[in-house]
Symmetry: C2
Subunit: 391 residues, 2 copies
Amino acid sequence: MTEAYVVGAGQSPFGSFPDESYRSLFATAFDRATASVDAEFDPERIDEAFLGTLGVGGRQLGLSGPAVTEHVGLHGIPTTRVENACAASGYAFRSAVAAVRAGLADVALAGGYEVMTDTSSDHTKWWLGVSGETEWERLSGTTFSGVYAQMASAHMNEYGTTTEDLSRVAVKNHGNGARNPNAHLGFECSLDQAMAAPTVADPLNLYHCCPTTDGASAVIVASEDVAFDLSDDPVRVAGMGASSGHVGLFQRDTFTSIPATRRAADAAYDEASIDAGDVDVAEVHDCFAIAELVAYEDLGFCDPGESGRLLREGVTDPDGDLPVNTSGGLKSKGHPIGATGTGQITEIFEQLRGDAHTQVDDPRYGLAHNVGGSGGGATVHLFERTDGGDR
Amino acid sequence: MTEAYVVGAGQSPFGSFPDESYRSLFATAFDRATASVDAEFDPERIDEAFLGTLGVGGRQLGLSGPAVTEHVGLHGIPTTRVENACAASGYAFRSAVAAVRAGLADVALAGGYEVMTDTSSDHTKWWLGVSGETEWERLSGTTFSGVYAQMASAHMNEYGTTTEDLSRVAVKNHGNGARNPNAHLGFECSLDQAMAAPTVADPLNLYHCCPTTDGASAVIVASEDVAFDLSDDPVRVAGMGASSGHVGLFQRDTFTSIPATRRAADAAYDEASIDAGDVDVAEVHDCFAIAELVAYEDLGFCDPGESGRLLREGVTDPDGDLPVNTSGGLKSKGHPIGATGTGQITEIFEQLRGDAHTQVDDPRYGLAHNVGGSGGGATVHLFERTDGGDR
């Protein structure tokens, strides 16, 4: 079995783009991804594509995957649309790596796209509930912020986590996002501002919730045979983990952990033969501030209940021991559902090649963590720098 | 790289089931698939799942994959929902085979489900258009039967194909479906009946169109290492092909062929090192009668324009040289979108093990052909009987 490497990655700007379509946004991401390949890259080398989108926004409803690949000049290649809610492109990336490892593709494309701000469709009303459980959450009136608010309340109750802890996620991620020209909300916020924002779903306020965003991202995966020809410095896929969980929060034994993340992380660390202490930079799924805190604990960055301390001590700041969400995260960079997973991988790719907007010091291992819904699915991917010659 | 084998397969009854859900239908298919494994089979051996559904029917909108695997007792395994319109589970099967070949799974589950007859949602109105191109087909009023009607008109004009040729597809497939207890429309029809039915989209009449159906199907794929332990007679995945095409019919150079099918077939025959003449039994995507005729030509069963003759001469009858749609096909067995691809593979699995309701004589190679939309995507899979000892 061949190893798989990332040889190119890019994202469109994330934001609100009424004049763009899911196709034009993806074209921007794709052009940036191909441009990031060190060697001159002929897109016709791409054998197969896996594209993630939640995609109930009133545009192309079925078969949007082939509509996208055709739009970027990849007519005819097998194209699979993956939908695993907010983890759609995390899972799409997993399938792209599997296609390379299985020998189905020498070069595979993973990516995602979402247009969320188009309110011309009557389906936009679904956005905030569609990734929750339908019968007992969405149809009974629970919003998606309401689901994460319950997790936040439980975490506060069990561990004494505070509104200040939640707000520090926003301050850090907006600080990073302010340096990222692709961020949707690319401005800094103060702790006072983040503490005093209007309530969305108590205890979560506006600064504890990610925005509703349009955007796309694309990652090019290659087999070992071709990766070092295409790239001076390919990034190795060191470990993959994925797991499902109960779709409904109410079905779970715990509200203060996402078990799917724990299982996915265990699998990824196991495959990479490293542990959390080896990770040098991470993008984690901060759809709500509480999600970033819980991720620290589920990914093994700290013990349960210790995530607030990590933030207070600056461990996850860009100059800390384990910088998290240097891109700005979902909170500041934005969260165009299907584009998020491969958007995170784009940031890790850039970090491991020294090209990030908020570059951390000499990272070797990077982690990308993508969650579907409130934990109905999760992927964890580990990447290793190769320096071009470690093969 | 390990070879992949099908060791179990099953489908729920196809039909209109107002008291069933997508989960309960899938549970029936899954129970039948696991029961078809020759050795005692512990479902916990399944490492990963790929499930196809178009799934805009108002039920679980995001993350229905994990909701399904959990329902059948597979909590926690990575579960990817694939949507490629009517080819959703053909593509899901491709990913399941890739996961096995890549070593991600020793045993993988592929399947699909669809609830189409629930009219309580305002989204059911989409069903007939959702798989067409949105901007220039669906939103301009072209129904899905209208798209295939244009293909039928073109085929009649170019090759002299007749309403009688179209009607013979219905007569043959209903004859087969009448022997299949899982068929939605499990009754015979005469040529006179099929000729005289009311027009749906000229030149297609009611007997030239498949029904709107609820149902589910499941296929269990295993690596070589475990396949012969689990099964006395596993079925080898001999070749896989998949391709995308223009989503809109109007974008294509030809209305009398589906180029994605041709490319997918070429890839599958190439991998299996066989040609169309070696195929002993096939399930092809007859969402409309014209689609079966075009499939004969695109899959190489005959030259362009010769498909009507194949039907008239009985070549694709159960006792002909190349029996097609012995299950009843989409026309009689039914077409629950996401369930169709792995439903077709279920029929081929049963044929190659001698267990089919309309069993053909001693087949060695079987073919399953699944189309997304009007040809925006297609998969072709080739299977070979092993007789349990050819390893």
